[in-house]
């Protein structure tokens, strides 16, 4: 039985990774909750965000956290355009079509990335990449602490937007009652695209927070998307709080099972829990949608 001196850093590490998982899952669950589609292009779009941060840093010398001012808005615009221009049109409102469209998009994006960026794994160098912060006796890399805080701030902003703005109310209204929404003058195509854009902007934030302590390659999104799907199902499809708690939970489970079962088996713990939860609580840990 490993003692606390090993378990605490592992849990902290899991929480920081989990906060980023939560951010990725938040975007996915927002899109699912409103558009009722599972965005298979989520991982590929995260990868694009990571490359954006990578090139802004290596070519223009921008700090990844300065990229927060550029990448999330750009990803928002990309998401808006994708939904309004491609997914919404090509899907013809049929779920199975939309599923295939987002799957197709992810394949196209990943192959374009392979072509343009090559399959190399790349990292960036920042002055704080190897700085650490001491938390309850454990040393946590600075970028991971920033990522944890950033993910929560983003989640808070998103929650405020959904709760206190007309856009947020319109998004929630449209999720449940399209005809009523049309009758109060909500432009469904626009609001659907705004929702998709917001979900993708979350990926932009995640990319900026992630790269200082991670890497980018054309396939980097795949690992995240599988975990994000797990979180979304675990937290209850469409639930915000569920995505947050689910993300942290999965991060910790991954870290601890890595500790006890060995690094390469870390993810097995996640899927074992996933299957157990689905057997006993098919609607996820927190039950229903927001």
């Amino acid at each position: 039985m490993p003692d606390l001196a090993i378990i605490i850093p592992s849990v902290l590490n899991g929480l920081t990774t989990g906060a980023l998982y939560a951010l990725v899952a938040l975007g996915l669950t927002l899109i699912y909750g409103v558009l009722h589609i599972i965005n298979f292009a989520h991982g590929a779009l995260l990868m694009l965000g990571l490359y954006a941060v990578y090139y802004l840093n290596t070519r223009f010398g921008l700090d990844p956290y300065v990229c927060l001012l550029i990448v999330p808005p750009a990803m928002f615009a990309l998401g808006y355009a994708l939904q309004r221009g491609i997914i919404g049109r090509a899907g013809h409102g049929r779920d199975e079509n939309i599923l295939l469209v987002t799957l197709g998009l992810s394949i196209v994006i990943e192959n374009l990335a392979l072509f343009f960026f090559k399959s190399d794994t790349r990292i960036i160098d920042t002055p704080y990449s190897f700085e650490v912060v001491q938390i309850i006796g454990a040393f946590v890399p600075e970028p991971k602490v920033f990522a944890f805080i950033g993910a929560f701030v983003t989640a808070g902003l998103l929650w405020a937007l959904m709760s206190f703005t007309d856009l947020g109310r319109a998004i929630r209204a449209l999720a449940k009652e399209r005809k009523g929404a049309t009758l109060v003058g909500i432009n469904a195509d626009h609001v659907y695209a705004m929702s998709f854009g917001l979900g993708i902007a979350c990926l932009g934030v995640a990319a900026c927070l992630l790269l200082p302590s991670y890497y980018v390659s054309p396939q980097v999104g795949q690992g995240f998307v599988l975990i994000a799907f797990t979180i979304v199902v675990l937290g209850g499809m469409g639930s915000f709080v569920g995505a947050l708690i689910g993300g942290l939970f999965i991060g910790v489970v991954e870290a601890l099972s890595g500790l006890f079962l060995g690094e390469s088996l870390g993810q097995i713990g996640i899927f074992a829990i996933f299957i157990v939860v689905l057997i006993f609580r098919p609607t996820g840990l927190l039950g229903h949608k927001v």
């Binding site: 109310r169 009652e177 005809k179 009523g180 927001v290």
Partner: protein
């Protein structure tokens, strides 16, 4: 007729290949309650939906405030002040009562949101008790009030109420019709779409009776009450 607000002439429309409305003529003057009556399936809701741009118009003209609107989008029609409280309410069940009302002014009336909300609550005091409750938890009558309140938030110049009494207990129906009279007394012009012929005629200035996609009878409520045709087919008097 003085000061015509809405004028519908030769209106045709339907779904797919099926024609539902076969040339409807109807007019509403400012300040009136006009009832559109008829049994189930004659095309009343189709007419309401074409008026607010939810269903496309095949032919004929709709003139609102002097302007042809049959080609406009629902949003452009809302902007002009023609507001539709639909059959079946279609409130937002996952939003609170307050949020439902707020979204009523999503497009129009936003500047006066707080003031209009106070007004809605003064007309429907039952809503204030449920203000922060999810709209889906309201009773049928409360949901209908919320739907009307949501419509009022857009500062309507013409309010279409499609079957506001459907599914309500007789006592609530009475209350609902009184509230509609109150709103009209404040100057709101109302198109009241109903199957409830007798009670509608009691509060309406004029009425149009629709059968099979066309208007078959029209006149002031007093005239229609005396019409032998109407007495026979709708009032069950012989």
């Amino acid at each position: 007729m003085s000061d015509t607000l809405l004028e519908i002439s030769g209106l045709r429309g339907g779904y797919g290949a099926v024609e539902v409305l076969r040339g409807v003529d109807l007019d509403i003057a400012s300040g009136e309650i006009v009832a559109l009556l008829g049994s189930n399936g004659v095309g009343k809701t189709t007419l309401s939906s074409i008026l607010t741009g939810l269903v496309s118009c095949w032919g004929g003209a709709i003139r609102f405030k002097g302007r042809e609107i049959q080609k406009l989008s629902p949003r452009a029609i809302i902007d002009m002040g023609l507001i539709h409280v639909p059959e079946g309410r279609h409130i937002f069940p996952n939003l609170s009562v307050r949020e439902n009302l707020e979204l009523g002014s999503y497009r129009r009336g936003r500047a006066n949101r707080a003031k209009n909300m106070e007004h809605v609550v003064s007309v429907f005091p039952r809503l204030s008790e449920r203000f922060d409750q999810k709209a889906g938890t309201l009773s049928g009558g409360e949901q209908q009030m919320l739907a009307i309140g949501r419509g009022m938030m857009a500062e309507p110049e013409l309010l279409i109420l499609d079957e506001p009494s459907i599914g309500l207990s007789p006592l609530l129906v009475e209350e609902m019709f009184e509230l509609i009279t109150t709103l009209n007394g404040e100057g709101l012009t109302i198109l009241l779409v109903e199957q409830n012929v007798l009670q509608s005629m009691e509060i309406a200035n004029r009425a149009f009776v629709m059968e099979n996609g066309a208007i078959t009878l029209s006149g002031t409520s007093a005239e229609l009450m005396d019409d032998p045709e109407l007495q026979r087919s709708y009032l069950g008097l012989v």
